[in-house]
Every structure is written in C-alpha cells, then in structure tokens.
C-alpha cells in the first residue's frame, strides 16, 4: 500500500510547477521565439497554451486524482480505473516508459549543470577564448578529455535516488519548495543584469535592450505560417511536461474533495511566468549584447543548449573576476534546480508503479529507478558522439508524448465521457471553470493534438528511414567520416531496439501486475 501524501497545498503547486519548469524554459523558448516571428510568437504560443496546454493539465490532473481514489498511482492502472478495456492499461505503459527513458538522458544533462556550477565557481573559464569554452563543452559531454562527466552523472543520479527515497512530502516537496523560489530569484537577478546591460559596460557591444527589441519585435506576417503555429504548439506541449505520466502520478495523491482546477492553473501559469518573463530576458539579451544579432541568430540554429553551455560561460567572463563566477553559479544553479525538480517528477511515477504493484519499499523503488536510469543512460553517456541522446529524446521525449497525450485525451473525454470528465475535474474546485472549456476539451484540444501529430508524420518517417544519415553517407567521401556515419547508423538502430525492449519490458511488468491483481480479487 502506497502511503505517500503531500505536505501542503503550496508544496504541491511548487512541485507541479517544478515538474513543468525545466531547462527548456530558459534554453528552448527564447530560441523558438527568435526563429518564429519574434514578438508575435507569443500570440500562437498563448493561444495554444489556452486551447491545448491548460486543457491537457486539467485532463492529467483529473485522470490522476480519479485513479488515486482507487489506490492507483501509475498510468497503467489509473487508466484501468477509467476504462476496464484491457487496451487502456497498456496505453498507460507510455506513462512509465516516457518518464524512465527521459530521466535516463535528462539526468545526464542535469549533471552538466551541476558540473558547470563547480567549473564556474572555480574559475575554469577564466581567460579562455570563446572557441576554447565551446570546445571544452564538446570535450566534456563526449568524454574526450576526461571522465569527469561520468563522475557528475553518478552524483546526480545518487542525489535523485536519495531525494526520491525521502518520499513525496519529505523529499520531492522539500526540494521544490527550495528549488522553485531559488530558481526564480536567480533568474530575476540574471534577467535584471541582461536587461540593464549597456554598450561599453562590462565589454558589451550593444545594450541588452537590443536583444529584447530583436526578440519582441512582432513579425505579424509569420502568424499566417503553419510552421509558427506548429512550433508554438510544440513549445507549449514540452514546457508543461504533459504526456509523460508525472502529473497524473502527483495528482493521484490528492483526495476527491480537494481542488485540482486552481492548483493546475497556478502551476501552469507559474511555468509561463518563468518561461516568458524570466526565460526570455536572460540568454538572448546577454548574448546579443556581446555578439550582435547576426551571430546569435546563427548560434540559435543549433538550439539553445549551445548558447547556454558554450556561449554564456564565456560571456560571463566579461563581468569581472568576482561577478563572473557568481553569474555562472546563478545561471547553472537555476538550470540545475529547473532540471532536478523535473527529473524527480520523472522518477516518482516509476517508483509508485513498483510500490503499488510489486510491494517495493520506497528505498528499494528509488534504488531500482536509479539502477534503471544508470543502465539506460549508459549508452547516452558513453556513446555521446553518436547522438544517442537525440535518438532517445526524439522517440521517448517527443513522439511518445504526443501519442500518449492524444490517447489519454480520447480516454478521459470520449471513453470516460465528457460529463464524467467535467464532473471529475470540477469536484472540490476552488475556481469555477467556464462551461466553454468543456467544448475545448471535447473538440479543440484533440484536434490540435491530431494536427500537430499529423504534421510531424513526414519527419517521423524520415527518422525511421534514417534519411539524414543516408544522405550524409551518400555525399561524403572521407573514409573516417564514412566510418563514423556507419557506426552512428549501427548505434542508432541498437538504441531504438533498446527503447523497444524497455517498452515491452514495462508491458510485461504491467501484465504480471494485472495477473497479480486478478488473483487477489479472486481470493
């Protein structure tokens, strides 16, 4: 019997917000905005948040609390309490698979932030050129220079296991209550520095407001481009951590008479605050202040991770011997808190499944989760040069999330029935939702999810067929590059097989757990 519970309502909201706030709030959102219409990106972004993001939050909180009434805290059996048709508990596998697989590589990224806090404080970037700082990151993550990344990865895993072993109120909630306010404070300090940066001050070439101007100048023509809406929907989707199974698990510890509407609105909007108000005011203003618009636009083509880990540590060196380590500590500190509150939310559903179905103690469940992350994360860490992380991220952290969200929406709204779903969501609510939300849940949210998924089908097919790698193989003549690409093909296929094996393995565990339940109910 799982005896976890939340300590306080504020702790629950912070933990849910911490689950949603991740590295993407600071690294992905500003880059997406720059690439998709600047200031006008906020329009499709907020529309998608209202029509898809918030409804998905209501659905996941509702599903979780409903399943929790029957003592179920993992999606296979939460779904089983909504519909007894056997297929739904196997759809629920996604809720464990996504969490476990994403945690396996996310903990590695999280460990980079931890390592970079120490590097910043110890002055590891002092006196280095921008190329050297960028090369340092490349060498660090691919283990070319040392195994320090492995050391920090293990520390990070151990830290996650320890906090998880302290339970919901004693571990996760405590970390969220410290981590979320701290990351907001760190973010506000850095945002203030970014916005008030002046040309000529601390070696800056441009004002920080040049970056803000670039980021927020609306290009209203872009609103007619489907790709902008697709990017906005994708950003909303990833930023809220929906379609993973974490929210359902956290919500399953809320009693029937307690509110979920106000709680989900608070957590969802807090995530928006961190993303739009703080996230947009750090990386772009500071980078453009030193590098100019053209260079930053070029850098954003390879995503926000490069800007965050290769560029900012170098730029902070312009702030002097005292401020540079502090800025580095604040930046990587906020990324670390954003990361760990999310990775804990990934671990807890896996633990709850083991505790509920196989009577694992909390410590044993946390250790098992840690061991699974270690095994599953090893290819990501040791085969970094073959981009295994991207492969995991695409299948578990992108495609699976969309599939899972769409299916859970169908289950809750259409199979369970909109009247039941609406009553479940509004039970004990401290905030009255307007009736039209019911119709958004029924028609608009699933349509948007289908639209986003269908638009991505060509890319999914390209990925399955390895078109990008085959294209590179066809156009390269260098034997070393050719060998590298062939190896990448091999390891990519092996990592896909591993993911399939994990999915099937969880499916077998769900099957065994179900048999155990049937035997118990027969007695």
């Amino acid at each position: 019997m799982n005896k976890e519970s939340w300590g306080s309502r504020l702790g629950l909201v912070f933990a849910m917000a911490g689950n949603a706030v991740g590295l993407g709030n600071f690294l992905r959102f500003p880059v997406q905005a720059v690439q998709n219409g600047g200031g006008s990106f906020i329009i499709p972004y907020l529309v998608c948040f209202l029509l898809m993001g918030l409804p998905l939050l209501f659905i996941e909180w509702g599903l979780g609390r409903y399943g929790g009434q029957f003592g179920n805290h993992s999606t296979p059996f939460i779904f089983n309490s909504v519909s007894k048709k056997f297929i739904w508990k196997y759809v629920g596998i996604f809720g464990i698979f996504c969490n476990l697989t994403i945690a396996a590589y996310y903990c590695y990224i999280e460990s980079w932030t931890l390592a970079y806090i120490f590097k910043s404080v110890s002055g590891a970037f002092a006196g280095k050129s921008s190329e050297e700082v960028a090369a340092h990151f490349g060498a660090y993550v691919t283990l070319s220079d040392s195994y320090m990344a492995v050391f920090f990865w293990l520390i990070c895993l151990a830290l996650n296991v320890y906090i998880l072993s302290r339970g919901l109120s004693g571990g996760i909630e405590k970390v969220a209550k410290i981590g979320v306010p701290l990351l907001i404070i760190f973010g506000l300090i850095l945002a203030f520095q970014g916005v008030t940066l002046k040309a000529g001050m601390k070696n800056a070439i441009y004002d920080g407001t040049v970056g803000l101007n670039f980021l927020w100048t609306p290009q209203f023509n872009s609103l007619w481009e489907p790709k902008v809406w697709l990017a906005a929907a994708g950003q909303v989707f990833f930023t809220l951590s929906v379609g993973m199974g974490s929210i359902q698990c956290y919500a399953s510890f809320i009693k029937k008479k307690d509110d979920i509407v106000l709680n989900s609105l608070s957590a969802g909007w807090m995530n928006e605050f961190v993303e739009v108000v703080i996230g947009a005011s750090i990386i772009i203003p500071i980078s453009i202040g030193y590098l100019g618009i053209d260079k930053v636009v070029e850098l954003t083509k390879s995503g926000g991770l490069g800007l965050g880990f290769k560029t900012l540590p170098y730029l902070f060196q312009n702030w002097g011997a005292v401020l540079a380590p502090i800025a580095g500590m604040l930046w990587f500190g906020l990324l670390f808190f954003a990361g760990i509150t999310s990775s804990l939310a990934m671990g807890f559903p896996c633990m709850s499944f083991l505790q509920d179905e196989f009577n694992f103690t909390r410590n044993k469940a946390a250790m098992t989760f840690g061991a699974a992350c270690l095994l599953l994360g090893a290819p990501v860490v040791f085969l970094g040069i073959y981009d295994i992380l991207d492969e995991y991220d695409y299948w578990a952290g992108t495609v699976s999330l969309f599939v899972f969200s769409l299916l859970e929406t169908i289950l809750f709204v259409w199979v369970f029935g909109i009247d039941n779903a609406w009553a479940t969501i509004n039970q004990g609510a401290d905030f009255k939702l307007p009736k039209f939300v019911k119709y958004i849940l029924m028609y608009i949210t699933p349509t948007l999810l289908i639209f986003v998924f269908v638009k991505n089908i060509p890319e999914i097919i390209d990925k399955i067929m390895h078109r990008e790698i085959y294209h590179k193989i066809a156009t390269t003549t260098d034997p070393a590059t050719l060998e590298m690409l062939n190896n990448k093909l091999l390891f990519t296929n092996l990592s896909r097989l591993l993911l399939v094996a994990v999915f099937i393995g969880i499916g077998i565990l769900v099957f065994v757990a179900n048999k155990k339940r049937q035997k118990l109910s027969a007695i």
Binding site: K3, S5, W6, G7, S8, R9, L10, G11, L12, V13, G38, G39, S40, I42, L46, S169, T209, L212, N213, L215, W216, T217, P218, F253, I254, K255, K257, D258, D259, L262, N263, L265, S266, W269, M270, E272, F273, V276, V277, G428, D430, F431
Partner: protein
C-alpha cells in the same frame, strides 16, 4: 526598443505576471478543506 516590441513585451509580461499572481494568491489564501484533506501540514497526528 521600438514601440511595437515594447508593447508586445510589456503587455505579455504584465498579463502573465498578473494572472500568475492572482492564482498564487488564491492558492495561498483559500481556506483549507475540512479534514481529512490531502495535506499533512494540518493533520492532528503525523502519518
């Protein structure tokens, strides 16, 4: 900053900050439901 960028930034940030603040205020100041509720902090006995 040009006018349209300033308008987009200030209006977006203000709307989001006000809504977030409003919901957080409601979370903090809404009285808890009668026991037994979902939270340990107001329990008579620690679980």
């Amino acid at each position: 900053m040009n006018g349209s960028a300033l308008f987009m930034m200030i209006s977006s940030m203000s709307v989001i900050t006000i809504i977030t603040g409003y919901f957080m205020y409601k979370v903090v100041y809404t009285p808890p439901k009668p026991e037994p509720d979902s939270f340990e902090f107001n329990d008579d006995e620690k679980r």
